[in-house]
Amino acid sequence: MISLDQHKDALNQSGIEMLELCKKQLSNAREAFFSHDSDLAEEVLHTENRVNALDLKIDRDCERFIALHNPVASDLRFVLALRKINFDLERVGDHAFGISNYIVEIDTPISQDLLDEMKVEEMFDAALSMLDDITGAYISTDTKKARKVFKKDKTLNKININAFSIIAKGVKRDPLLIEQYLLLFSVIKKLERIGDLVTNIAEEIIFFREAEVLKHRKRKGTRKKKDE
């Protein structure tokens, strides 16, 4: 018989594994994107199978955990949060896959001027740093780290909003660049979505630790104290 704590530990480990895996996928996608390394991009495409398999495993284990242990209070919050975190991470993995797919499909690298103008590198860095924050928050269950991502997500949103007018101007200036712009726009959209997903994960970590629901709340920075 597996005890509740053993089962919870195993689930927690799977959660960490999923976080590390998806972070690696995104950082590989970033490297492949900037170095135009289609081999590395292919590797991301292949690794997607592992992400999907781990996603299914965590789902199944969460279901078993609930069925076998009837968790309540923090155990219940943990398993509910993990299911959502897992779902969101799988989507992060999908976006890394999507970005790598572009790299495999397109022939010529995108010009550095365009990349700088659209602040793509800044977006990648912000998204990866957010993933770092939530990994730290998840492992050390430090909600302060989780709260950091809300601010960083705003950077991503801002770049995403500005991208629209930059593209409109750029295309008018040089219509031949439209394909590159469109591709960059897709990548930016994906990174912006990753920011949203990581924000959701941070909310889930806070829900699990502090029983505080931040979903759909505008000001997420304020903190409720809990008497331990």
Binding site: L4, D5, N70, P71, V72, A73, L76, D227, E228
Partner: protein, 266 residues
Amino acid sequence: MVKKDKEKLIDKSIKRQHKLTANGVRVFYDNFEAIRGIDMNIKANKVTAFIGPSGCGKSTFLRLFNRMNDYIEGFRLEGEILIDGENIYKKKVNVEQLRKQVGMVFQKPNPFPKSIYENVAYGLKIQGIKDKKFLMEKVVDSLKQVTLWEEVKNDLNKSALALSGGQQQRLCIARTLAVEPSIILMDEPTSALDPLSTAKIEELIFELKNKYTIIIVTHNMQQAARISDRTAFFYMGDLIEYDSTKKIFTNPEKKQTENYITGRFG
């Protein structure tokens, strides 16, 4: 207890007030302190669950409300227990009258070795009620309340001991209801029953709270979570946490409560 007091006890108009109050209650069995200073208010028409590991004092505390501890040697109470504002440990209180107001259901079904009818009518008969029509009405009404009527309506003269465990327990609840209490104390009423009978008793408890104030001691955490409005967690004679059941089972304030409900100690 004089008649005037009796009427006060079953006054159902005080729905919003505290039905039961414990003020600074300490219980001793000789030198052992079983309850170590508990204050608690219980509202009318609510189900309150008492949880805690064995020996934490929850059953002792429950039995204070109908003075079932009085018979235990060395029992001593400090503080006061109020029902509808009346101290039930005052000298002039008629304990039999009190137990009519405060019914009790035990862990093991304990029907008398008599017929089903006699079991339910017993409490009324010992009060001296002889009107057969009235008795029958009461028996039918009580059996209907516990949803046992359809199952036994043709066998009222059969021995209660022939019923299944779940039916016997519902019969015991019917026997309690027949004397029209306003409070029902339940000491692990489903721990000897199978899941289906348990579910029936749980549904019944949910129905009964419209009319009665119910306190239930249970070791089944999920049961406490399902049926009670408020939950009290006891440990070593102390009341550790007493809050809405929703709060206790989703985000308890105290670490001890959390450890107990998640099965980590106790």
